[in-house]
Structures are given as structure tokens and as C-alpha cells.
Amino acid sequence: MGTITFVEHDGTSHDVDLVDGESLMELATSNGVPGIDGDCGGEAACGTCHVIVDDAWIATTGTRSDEETQMIEMSPECAPNSRLSCQLKARSELDGLRVHLPEFQM
């Protein structure tokens, strides 16, 4: 067990229990975190689970794949640490991870 924190654009934060092997999108939607829809169910097809990884954590999570870049870079809120949370699998090393949500999902 561990915790992952999702911070909404207005600063509201949501701590959710880390479940090893589940994607951050699944954790967010299972816990009703506002601002992450995950409409396509984790196929990297919809781009509605965009998160921005806290600088302190980007080395641990790793940067985004080319596939994710294609989906995210047209967003006006795309940042260097932007990821699709459906492509980020939770694992014990990510205990304490903080990710920020954009104001709008595309």
C-alpha cells in the first residue's frame, strides 16, 4: 500500500491508495477524482487522462512515450512532464507521487 496524490488545477488535492499494477487513470476514476475521465478505458485513444508529473518525481516515473506525445502535445496545457495517466502503472516505488491536473482535458 501507499498513496498517490492528484492535485486539481484549483489546488484541491486527492490522496488515493496505490494499487500495484493499476494505471493512475484507473486509480483516479475508481476514486472519483474530478478531471480525469479516461473515456477510452486506457487505450491512449482519447487523451482525457492528461496529468503533469511533479518535477521531483519525473525521474522515477519516466518521461512520456512517442505515442503519448502525439496525444498530448496539441493541448494548450502540455508541459515537459505531461503524461497520459492510463500509461503510468502504479508500483511501490511511486508511493508519495504527486501529479497535477490540467485545467481542461481535451
Binding site: S30, E43, G47, E73, M74
Partner: protein, 413 residues
């Protein structure tokens, strides 16, 4: 907990989103979700894609895990609703029980359009809509080697791709002169035609089915041109019909779907409809729409939850769709109906990546993007913002898309 009760009929993508959005918008009363399938709401799009070809279970496809419904205090009941009484504000279940509602949301979905030909009752003949269909198709697949698919729409073509992946011989029959005729431009149809043939599909256009033949098990398909095709598995994908009967019997307005306003409300202020079964007024396209896609179900659900909780959230999101076939990821933004011009970026006649943009009166209204996620996300944004990107620049793959977002002229500014 409040004493009022929302009853949601249908366990679907719309209803899963409703549970989330109702709680988020402040609904503190009961939420009762009634589904006529045994499972909690699950992702349907993968059924014809990874699920058909794979070994995953329906639990893997749950939109929200069971714990979510527990935590949000959503009760789930596996039953079929047979009647709505608007006077008593109750729904009647198939076991005769009556349950009261304060607000009722109909997420009734759609069902496969039936094919009325002899032999539909034979073993090995299937529609493809829900988890039970896939389980049955998987059972029929054991020992099957020759499949015939009736209909070259998205469901038929996705099923063809999944079956080819499993090494099954596949024939696809389409009564129209090209695949995807109802939904795409000729260039996109030609692309999918080519790829399916390259992948070994026997694609036959402009031909209908007269009968399915066999003793108990289907063994062949008789065509309108009098040809016969041997088959031990037949999948029929010729469109869907919205499930409107429950609403119709209750006296609600029905016209190609349950008629709702921009907030998902029917002509009864306590009854709403969302998803494939609902026909809403859409401000962007300035007409009534009934769509069959996840994005529409999610958007409807958000609007309905808002309306129930006294928050004004009219249906406004741009619809989008996707289809996976072989190594092709097709992403579609917007609705191409009524387009007058098509712009291609990349060459659909060669290779496996391109984008087709649809324009109406100079404005971008839709895009079909194959293995081009960036073009898709560009289109989502450009269409939502009402932009009119320069067509010759858009057609040049060397033009950076981001520059077209800035340089585009929008009618409002």
C-alpha cells in the same frame, strides 16, 4: 443520506458516468442502478477488438471497479425493467416488484438491427453487441475456420480484423458499393478496403445475403448473386436500433431515440435519457443528434447529473470515436455529415497512416485520422474552437499543425 432516489435503468457507459457525476455535483440521496446484464457497467468498444481476440474477462473491462460503487453508495440490481408508471413514479421489474423514483434516467442503449433472413437461428450465427455475444462467439470459434461477416461498418470490420488475427478465414459481405459508406469519405473507404484485402479478407461489395444454411449448425451462406460461401461462423453487424420501447410505452416523445433537450431531459421533468438511446438537440451542429459512442454517453451523463443537481451543464462536448483494426488506430473527431470538401494529409493509397479532414462552408467539421494521433488532437481542438485552417497548408504534411492553430481564422474573431 438524503431521502430522494435516482433510479438509473441500464448498466452502461452513461450510467457509470452518471454515478460519478451525480455524487460530484452533490446528489446525497440514493442511487439505484438497474441493469439487465449480470455485470456492472463495462467498456463495450473493446468487445469487437481486443476482447474478441483475447482471453480477458468481463471484470477486466469494468468502467469502475465494484469498490467504487460501494464507496459511492450506489446499489446495483440485476433485473429488467418492464414498465414505467409516471403517475406513481415507479418502475416495474421483470419479477413484478415496483420501485419508486424521484428522478429516473433511461440509459437503455441500442440493440443490433435484426437481419430477417432464413437461418438466423442456426448455431454459429451471432450478433455482436454485449459480453454474452462475445462469450458465444468465442465458443463458436473453437473449431471454426471460416467466418462470414455481414456488414462492413465498424463492427464488421473490427470483427474481421480480430478474427484474421486468430487465423480464421474471413469473408466480409456488404450490400453497399464501399466499406464504411455511411460514415466516411470515399478515400477512407478505399484505404480500409485495401488494408483488409492485404490482410487476407475476402471482401465482397454490392452483395446481400439471402439465407444462412445448415442442419443445426450454419455451414454456408447464400448470396443475392446466387453464390454460396462455406461458413462455420457468421457474425451480423448491420447497425443498431435505439431501445426506446420503455419510454414510448410511458408516453414519452420518441423520434429516432428518446427525445431530450440540451440537458438530457425528456418531456417529463423527472425523467432523463442518456447515451445511444437518447436524441438530443446539439447547438454546435444545430440539429438533433442520436449518436452511438462513448464520448456522447459520457457527455449526456454529465449534463443529466447537472440537471438533476440544479447545475446548468448543457451538452456541448465534441463527439469523437475510435476504431482499432490490425495495426491501424483510427481516431475520429466530430461529425462529417454534410461536408462539402475533403482534405487529405498523407496518402491513403499507400502505407498505413494518413488523415482525412472534412470541411463544410470552409470550416473544419470532422477528421478521420489513421495512426495520426496528433492530427486527431489537433482536429478535436480546431473543431471545438470553430477554426477554418488553411486547406492547402493542412494538406502539406510539412506544415506544423501547431502553426495552423495560431494562423487559423475563426468566424468569431
Amino acid at each position: 443520506m438524503g431521502t430522494q432516489r435516482v433510479v438509473i435503468v441500464g448498466a452502461s457507459h452513461a450510467s457509470a458516468q452518471l454515478c460519478v457525476s451525480l455524487r460530484r455535483d452533490g446528489w446525497d440521496g440514493e442511487i439505484l442502478l438497474i441493469g439487465d446484464e449480470p455485470s456492472l457497467p463495462y467498456h463495450r468498444p473493446p468487445l469487437s477488438k481486443t476482447f474478441l481476440a483475447g482471453t480477458t474477462t468481463i471484470e477486466d473491462l469494468h468502467i469502475r471497479k465494484p469498490e467504487f460503487y460501494e464507496k459511492e453508495q450506489v446499489a446495483f440490481r440485476h433485473a429488467r425493467v418492464t414498465r414505467i408508471s409516471r403517475e406513481a413514479r415507479t418502475v416495474t421489474l421483470d419479477d413484478g416488484e415496483e420501485l419508486g423514483y424521484d428522478k429516473l434516467v433511461l440509459c437503455l442503449g441500442a440493440r443490433p438491427r435484426p437481419l430477417s433472413i432464413p437461418g438466423m437461428e442456426l448455431a454459429g450465427v451471432h450478433y455482436l453487441r454485449d459480453a454474452a455475444d462475445i462469450t458465444a462467439i468465442r465458443d463458436s470459434l473453437a473449431g471454426a475456420s471460416r467466418a462470414v461477416i455481414v456488414g462492413a461498418g465498424y463492427i464488421g470490420l473490427e470483427a474481421a480484423a480480430s478474427l484474421r488475427k486468430l487465423g480464421v478465414e474471413v469473408t466480409v459481405l456488404e450490400v453497399a458499393e464501399r466499406v464504411l459508406q455511411r460514415v466516411t469519405a470515399p478515400a477512407v473507404s478505399a484505404f480500409y478496403d485495401r488494408v483488409h484485402r492485404e490482410e487476407g479478407v475476402d471482401l465482397r461489395l454490392g452483395v446481400g445475403v439471402l439465407a444462412l444454411e445448415g442442419e443445426d449448425q450454419v455451414t454456408s451462406v447464400r448470396l443475392t448473386d446466387d453464390d454460396h460461401i462455406a461458413a462455420d461462423l457468421v457474425i451480423v453487424g448491420v447497425g443498431v436500433l435505439p431501445n426506446v420501447e420503455l419510454a414510448q410505452d410511458a408516453g414519452l416523445a420518441v423520434d429516432n431515440g428518446i427525445v431530450v433537450d440540451a440537458h438530457g431531459r425528456t418531456d417529463d421533468p423527472d425523467i432523463f435519457a442518456a447515451g445511444d438511446c437518447a436524441n438530443h438537440y446539439d447547438a454546435r451542429y444545430d440539429r438533433r443528434l442520436r449518436l452511438e459512442c462513448v464520448s456522447n454517453a459520457v457527455e449526456h451523463a454529465k449534463s443529466v447529473a447537472g440537471a438533476i443537481c440544479g447545475k446548468d451543464k448543457p451538452i456541448s462536448a465534441l463527439p469523437w470515436f475510435w476504431s482499432d483494426q490490425y495495426d491501424l488506430k483510427l481516431q475520429i473527431a466530430g461529425l462529417s455529415t454534410g461536408y462539402d470538401t475533403v482534405v487529405l494529409r498523407g496518402d491513403p493509397a499507400a502505407g498505413r497512416a494518413f488523415a482525412c479532414f472534412y470541411f463544410a462552408d470552409g470550416r473544419l467539421v470532422a477528421a478521420d485520422c489513421v495512426n495520426n494521433a496528433k492530427e486527431f488532437m489537433f482536429s478535436k481542438r480546431a473543431i471545438a474552437e470553430g477554426l477554418s485552417p488553411d486547406r492547402s497548408m493542412l494538406a502539406d504534411p510539412g506544415t506544423p499543425l501547431a502553426s495552423l492553430l495560431q494562423a487559423s481564422t475563426s468566424p468569431t474573431g
